[in-house]
Subunit: 150 residues, 4 copies
Amino acid sequence: LIEDVKTHIFKRVVNYHETDAMGIVHHSNHIKYFEEARVDFLRAKDILHEHSPQGPYSFAVIRLQTEYRKPARFPDQLEVHLQAHSEGVRVRFRYALYRSTVDHGLELLATGDTELAALGPNGKVARLPQSMTEIFTQTGWQGSWPPPQS
Amino acid sequence: LIEDVKTHIFKRVVNYHETDAMGIVHHSNHIKYFEEARVDFLRAKDILHEHSPQGPYSFAVIRLQTEYRKPARFPDQLEVHLQAHSEGVRVRFRYALYRSTVDHGLELLATGDTELAALGPNGKVARLPQSMTEIFTQTGWQGSWPPPQS
Amino acid sequence: LIEDVKTHIFKRVVNYHETDAMGIVHHSNHIKYFEEARVDFLRAKDILHEHSPQGPYSFAVIRLQTEYRKPARFPDQLEVHLQAHSEGVRVRFRYALYRSTVDHGLELLATGDTELAALGPNGKVARLPQSMTEIFTQTGWQGSWPPPQS
Amino acid sequence: LIEDVKTHIFKRVVNYHETDAMGIVHHSNHIKYFEEARVDFLRAKDILHEHSPQGPYSFAVIRLQTEYRKPARFPDQLEVHLQAHSEGVRVRFRYALYRSTVDHGLELLATGDTELAALGPNGKVARLPQSMTEIFTQTGWQGSWPPPQS
C-alpha cells in the first residue's frame, strides 16, 4: 500500500501487558512503540553499533507530540511507519502507527513526532558521525504526514 | 514559590524502575506522571468517584505534547503542577514537572499538554456532568505556562 | 541446540525502554517477557482466538517464581523457551530465558515458573475447553528444567 | 492492626496506567511495588544515600517469588508491609501487599519474597557497610509470613 521507499516499516504485535482497564493500549505505550521503531531503523540501516552501549552515541528525546485517533487493542498486529531527518545535532522522527488486518489493510491509529538531541560518550550534545547523518538524510522527509495510502 | 491558587500540585518521588540505561527517567514515564497528577487532581477535588470503575466516566487521551528540558533522576523528589480547562466534551490539562530540592527549590524539568475526550459508560464520547465541568472551569487557565516562579 | 520438540521458542530483542540505571534489563520486565512467550505459544498453537477479548477465556497469574542468573542488556537478542502443563483449572508454564549470539550460541539468563488460573467470561474460575487443554498436555513436561543444552 | 514494630509499611495508590484489560493491576506491577517498598525502607532508615547513584552500592535481584491472592484495582489504596534480613552479601526481603479500606481494614492481596545480591561501585558482588547490615538485622525476621492480623 505504502509506495514511499524512504519510509521504514517496523512490525510488532500488541502485548497483553500494554493494555489498560479501558481494554485498550495505554497511551504511554505508543511512546515505547515509537522508540522501538527508531531502534529497528538504526538496526536495519546497520548503524545500531554506533549507539550506546555498543558505540559512543545515544539520543535524548527533547520534544514529543502524539495524536491518538483510534485505540489499539490486544492482540492487534501493528506497523509503525517512520521517517528520519537530520538537523544539525538534532534528529527528527515522524511516525504513523497502523493496525494491520487481512480484511481492512492498514488502519491509521496514531501519529507521532519526536525531536532528539545526539549525545556523545560524555553525555554532552555531540555532532553525529557522517555514517549516521547520511542515513538520516537518505531517509528523506516528505511534504505530508502520514503518507497518503493508495 | 508558586502563588497561583488555581494550580494543583502533585508530589511523588522517582522510582528506580523508571530509570533507563542513560541513568535518567525514561521519557515515556513523564506521560505516566502526568496521568497520576490528573487522577490526584480528581481525587483532591472529590470527583474521582465519577471516574470509571467507580463512576460512569473515563477519559481518552487524544493529543499529547511534551518538552523535556532536563533529565529526572532516581531518587529525585518531583512535583507536577497542573491546570485543567473544560472545552465542551474535551478537557485540556497542562503540566509542569519540577525537581524539588532543599538547596535549589523547584527546578523545571519538563512541560506537557494533553487533550482528553470524556467517555460515557458505553465508551462513546459524552458530555460530563456539571459537578466535573465546574471543577475544570474553576481551576482556570492562565496566559503563560509554566507559571513564572517568584 | 535444543532438541526437545515439546518446547515452544519465542524470540524478541531487548528494548531500550526496558533497561534501568544499572544498564541492564529491569527485573520486572522478565515477567512481561514470560507473558509474551505464553501469548506467542497460544498464537502458534492456533488457540489465541479462545482468549479474551476475542474468546471467552483469560488467565490470572496466581503464583510466580523467577531466578535471575545473568543480566540481559540492550540490544540483546533473546529467546524464551517455554513448556506448558494443564492441571485441572490451572495451567503451569516454565520458562528459560536465553541471550542468543552468533559466537556463544544460547546463554542462560533466567528461569521462571508461573501457575495460572483459567477464568471464564464472567471472570470466575472455569474449566478450559478440550481444544486448549489438549494443547497444554501435548506440550509435555520434562523432568529437568531448563532443558540441557547439547 | 499490625503490632510488629519490625515491619516497615509503605503506602501508595494504584495508578490507572498499572491496570490491564482484565480491569485489574497487571501482575508485573507487584514487582515494582515491592521495589518501591524496598527503596522507601532504605529512605526511612536513612541509608538511601549509600545506594547508587548517590552512594556506591546497588542491589541485583537474583530470586523472586510472588503469590497473588486477590486482584488490586484502580484506585485502591495499598500498603506494602516489608521485612528485611541480611545474609552475608545477600539481603532477603519479604512483602505483604494489602488493600486498605475504611470499611474492611487491611485485605491481603499478595505476598512476595526476594533475594538480592549487594553490588559495589564496580558492579561486582560486595560486602555491605555495617551501617546497612545493622539496619537489615534490626528489622528482624519473624517466624510466619504474612504477619497475623489481629
